[in-house]
Symmetry: C2
Subunit: 327 residues, 2 copies
Amino acid sequence: MGTATARANANIAFIKYWGNRDDRLRLPANPSISMNLGGLFAETTVRWEENLTADSFGLNGKEDTGAGLTRVVAHLDVLRRRLDIAQFARVESRNNFPTGAGIASSAAAFAALTVAGAAAAGAQLSERELTTIARLGSGSASRSVPTGFVEWYAADAHEESYAESFGTPNTWDIVDVIAVVSKAHKPVGSSAGHQSANTSDLQTARVAGAEERLRQCKQAILNHDFAAFADVVEHDSNLMHAVMMTSRPPLFYWLPPTLMIMDSVRQWRADGLRVCYTLDAGPNVHCICVREDAAVVSERLRASSEVLDVLIAPPGDGAQVLTVSIP
Amino acid sequence: MGTATARANANIAFIKYWGNRDDRLRLPANPSISMNLGGLFAETTVRWEENLTADSFGLNGKEDTGAGLTRVVAHLDVLRRRLDIAQFARVESRNNFPTGAGIASSAAAFAALTVAGAAAAGAQLSERELTTIARLGSGSASRSVPTGFVEWYAADAHEESYAESFGTPNTWDIVDVIAVVSKAHKPVGSSAGHQSANTSDLQTARVAGAEERLRQCKQAILNHDFAAFADVVEHDSNLMHAVMMTSRPPLFYWLPPTLMIMDSVRQWRADGLRVCYTLDAGPNVHCICVREDAAVVSERLRASSEVLDVLIAPPGDGAQVLTVSIP
């Protein structure tokens, strides 16, 4: 047993994952697609070691002994079972972007943990299997394993709900310009949120239309058809937030500046900029735009006093092992 | 033929009307209930006169020769057909509250126009029939004809989709504290909005649950059960706005301060105030509270720099004829 470090990018979903058909296995209610966010990553080192008496976990240089550790230990248990590992592990992870504010920190984290944990054990798992294991830690982590533009399949069996790439980072030259309006940790985490999705009367209808929206979105990406892309991406985001705010109790992830930016983005597009918005379970607004329009979008966002920060990410790679050392 | 003046209060729906099964007859997709807003009224004078050569319409002292006049003429046509009137009419109407900003100005206006128009013709129509005629002008106007707390039935035939009171203004001592955050006319009027409701995948599910929510809401009103009332009223409002924002194209009626106030109201209620929110097709927030808590709610709203004005309305009467003169 040894040590490995892996890096995985965050991803932004264009057709959203919200709600599970099986909460324990994180088998999603509907398929989803996303783009990896180049440069916004988690880097995770796993060291399996004989003489450890328990797993431990450091996040961004700070020891986590609470809920974060519990979730990491559960994921290490999955790897131990699959790879017949008897040892405990030391895990250290860093994000280079704000944690828990709608930038899919858990997706990057569990993709990196999965890939590093397997590599440190000297295991050669297929990408497909790595996506299913990552999924058990955080659903959308499955989409951070393959490269570029990724589809994650919905299915009733663990092995069938995997993710795969349908386009490299070069497939389409679009950019995610993220308007950060809050760096606070979100009040209701995604795992709890997913479990509440079925309490909304509207979830069934959202799920029923997801496959068709996914087909339209994928087509728009492959055709570089920004107008069609913007239409279905904003609609899908609106549908997910409609389900959230009609759950019992309701989940409101939007803040006042969120609403203002969504409105501005629609206006900018009407005025000719190729930009649209999408929001995860958080208040930050992902402004997806063609590369030529990224600078002006970013400038306009920075000009707003409500925007704390602007992050820019092109399509990114899949999860990668950076170093392995197996004595 | 003569002249009559009638007054009708605006109303605020607790279970919302959104979308029609028949757009021309304004037969609603689902039943709704509301409270008349005492003191927020339209006062309308109709004068049927032999020597007029066309209908004309003054609103708040200004001659309306555009879309407002067209809609008034269409409603006068309904009255002419029903009451065998050959004359044209002069109509003058005033609201004592901002027009077109989510305070149901058209509801009050068409209730008053219907009642004044019939009275000026010397007709004695039943309240039930008056509610159906008012409905043809503006769906929710049917609810401004009867007194106090009102239910408007959904049905497939004109005569069956009427409104009636299920409680007088004394039934429950609650107050609508309206936070006005914009006095601008809304970008998409309710009539166009209703016609777009079926473009949302979520409308069917919203409509399917409306009868049960209505039953719960009515029960809560009659039992003075504020907690149950708040729960279903906010949920129903969230459902309507979820449908709006997932229509094609989407309708966003909320402004950033709207979202801020909704969040504050949920927080205030968690802290013990008996207050909940509901929003019509506009950005202003109706904060429904028990009378004892109205002063503190109003104070807190006024303390916000985003709130332009606060209007306070207790349960109000039905539409009333103020003066009639038939030579």
